[in-house]
Symmetry: C2
Subunit: 575 residues, 2 copies
Amino acid sequence: MKVRNLLGERLRHVSDESQIESQILMTKGGYMKPVASGIYSLMPPAQRISKKLQAIVREEMDAIDGQEVLFPVVMPASLWQSSGRYTSIGSEMVRFEDRGGNKMVLGMTHEEAAVHLADHTAKSYTQYPFMIYQLQTKFRDEPRARGGLIRVREFIMKDAYSFHTSQEDLEAYYRRAYDAYVRIFRRAGAKNVIAVKSDSGMMGGSISHEFMLLSDVGEDTLVLCPDCGYSANMEVAECITKNAESAPAALEKVATPHAGTIEEVCAFLGKKPEETAKAVVYAYNDTDKYVVVFVRGDTEVNETKLRNLLGKEIHPATAIDEASGIVPGFIGGAGLTDGVDVVIDRSLEGLHDLVTGANEEGYHYVGFDFARDYRKPFAYADVAKAREGGICPVCGKPHLNIRKGIEVGNIFQLGDKYTRAMGMTYLDADNTEKYPIMGCYGIGIGRLMASICQESRDEYGPIWPISIAPWQVEVCNLRVTDDKVRSRAEALVSALESAGIEVLYDDREIRPGPMFADADLFGVPVRAVVSQKTEERSVIEVSTRDKSLKTEFPADRAADEIISLVKKMLGECGR
Amino acid sequence: MKVRNLLGERLRHVSDESQIESQILMTKGGYMKPVASGIYSLMPPAQRISKKLQAIVREEMDAIDGQEVLFPVVMPASLWQSSGRYTSIGSEMVRFEDRGGNKMVLGMTHEEAAVHLADHTAKSYTQYPFMIYQLQTKFRDEPRARGGLIRVREFIMKDAYSFHTSQEDLEAYYRRAYDAYVRIFRRAGAKNVIAVKSDSGMMGGSISHEFMLLSDVGEDTLVLCPDCGYSANMEVAECITKNAESAPAALEKVATPHAGTIEEVCAFLGKKPEETAKAVVYAYNDTDKYVVVFVRGDTEVNETKLRNLLGKEIHPATAIDEASGIVPGFIGGAGLTDGVDVVIDRSLEGLHDLVTGANEEGYHYVGFDFARDYRKPFAYADVAKAREGGICPVCGKPHLNIRKGIEVGNIFQLGDKYTRAMGMTYLDADNTEKYPIMGCYGIGIGRLMASICQESRDEYGPIWPISIAPWQVEVCNLRVTDDKVRSRAEALVSALESAGIEVLYDDREIRPGPMFADADLFGVPVRAVVSQKTEERSVIEVSTRDKSLKTEFPADRAADEIISLVKKMLGECGR
């Protein structure tokens, strides 16, 4: 492929510098073009990368006995009604009517379609387990598309669905899928991908893992233990706190005029935040009722854990209705009206001398102890956020790291949620009808591409791993008007292509500066430069995009040397 | 792959025997499952065929310098408004609003997206020509989905768009694309595909060709000349008629009571249909006005040619408003009111003694001659249907064949319709801004698969060409409980797979009848049978699905022989 024929342009600047680095570089490099918010056309270099990623994913899915199928993008609403998700999923699912007035949806995931396909064709336990997968376009009407290909509305996803007759069999397969994912990310050249325990969200089911590419621009927060390797999404990470021994104290109501925040109360009373019980108020989405959450004053509420505990959707209460009896700034563990739900986090367990609001404007209690003074039966719950330096729930050491990550894959144990709802059964060995249990396994191809760019780049452009690079070698001809230089470059291109190497050849009559700037944006792993200077010395300059190699090869051996180099680099990305 | 692990079931019967053969066989064989009208999930065998077809298409598109890209499925209405097609295309385009209330559409073709992608990146004439293509899911809300994968609503299509600076360059590239299409169909094993001139329809533009797979179940009617090779879609085929010499006759009004059809009038007056002028009434879709078309009594009106002549949408008039002055059954070439449009087909040219209605209930004229008696200026038009045995418009011989075909591909010269509407320009060598001209080139992957099945089958199942077959060899083990037979079969499978051959292995404990019936439905080109009987004689039975070969190979040489056979068969499908 010649650069002069390649569709797309390379830019020196982008208009919106607030974008994340991978988005800026992929925009500058002519990888994609926005068509609407969160909807892109992929230009040739990105499509080449996408196809290589898809090939790796296919190989690894086939290696764990996956059978490739294709589900539809457009599905009848009735299919989603049969699982109950037609109503449980909100406006991120596109709904429309076809010309016959039938309600249809755009697929954002395909559990229902997988059950529909497998139903009636796997009626005997002898046909289990099996796994089916597809690579297909999906559409999720994300409210906040951002980060280029990282969070989009339309994307190509590999989604796989496995079917089993026992939890043990699901778990064994889940482990194989987990390992396949590790191989996929390694082969794709993603360096910092870790698996974390995650929240199953709208998928249902119990155990699930997300594969996270560590990155400061990630939208997910991860809790990692450097000592034992524990890792979890913040959304589900347990929060362990250890409280200093404290002596019981007498409960006493004190005036705290104008002290409505933890900081103000602490300053006023000479206390530390960890000696206070902070109250955070949430409202249910479907009723007017409030939930007051008490956590130790120096911790934060983990809303996902709270949501899972309550089993209901909630949101932070902004304006609080006076009739509720809640007195903002002075909410306390004693005397709240019965109409308010209360959750008490276990970070408060064992604290005998807490500061808490008195549920009365201008007053707090000191010496409060939930166990003694709350006066209603309750159990401590775990609804606080894990913290940097916090205690690991597995090994107990206080070295937790909090990091950001981009979710590049996820795997779920779904149980029989979908097969039961949709009435899919098989006849078991004991002659009874049972519901198969399922796992599902997703990878977003475009997001993975952009995440790898985000991880593997310098200020000038992406540094594509050779396994997914749009081309393997770029040949730069710095003097196309010189016949000797041109034939040297063309002979090199032709020798490399004959060896099956994908070559991008730049023979435009432009100065070296812009040519190398473009080459940096293409991010091709190996670069060979032919110029008048190299030709005079009968050499070819060869370097790698990651700067680990910069050398010269004798011109007559250059093709062979480059072929060996490419093979070596490809080998390092192998399974 | 083992049959026992393959998802899907083979059926002996289908509930609706009125379907076309390929649909019945692909349903019986477990190739696909309907999800809604015209929307299917593809099961593993069909997905395997689809991927092979896609690979062939990709290779041929790359060979004519195509650059693969990916356009979105979901596009903003604004993109389609910019070309004018948002309003000109009817309810076959799905429209919906996203969560932000923005009007969106589902892509049914991607001319607008291609111009959007290429715009601003190909600003200089030096960057032309180029071609971009994609393989992507499309959705057309067809009112009558039918024939399994042949006419669906959701489908994967390869669509390509080329951009040029001159009509000559477009024509040269169009020819290359034409040749690539010929290679694609040949490599895919489609035997009876011909290119015909076609109507450009909603695409706009001038010259276009459809690639038609000849088949009685085709929805298109083709006009073919066995003498000179002329071929055209009936929609655009010229109709040439030769009229016998006839002497001028006196115009005379005759009573023809109760004779309102051509047959009745001919019987009553002792005339032949070709001595009459038949009147057919159409109504415009957008006004109340009528169009009366006169054709020779033994010919039919070609509505597509009529539509193109008028430049407006029309439909056959069923109930005719009396106020129009049209007297059904007695419409004639003289005396029609001025409020009615009239088209006179050239099949009536040179006829001097016609029967035609008198525009008066119960009366006709005889001796009518349009040239003499129509009394208003007019030009004969070509709006009649070509006929079996008709005259070829190229070589003039009267041997035209009328055949049915399934459209498996199409290519269009679009001109500057889209670039002009969307304001895409480039700077030409003469320093002026110009609109690039375009070609577009489509192939539906699923339809091609089903059409090849329709063409290449027997009553028991598909006979897949080896280039696209889901597997190349099926090994049938008729006695899996016999250790010697089993190890023989497994050694064969393993030897074939080591040689890179795709093997389907049936080791189910079922009788030979059902096993062979399933094998016929899989349509795998080469079948190897291992049984107790073959094992006793140390042979392996080998046959081809198309019955051209049935032989035995010595067991110890069987793998090598089968490998040679497969290579030979693959070679015959080569480029």
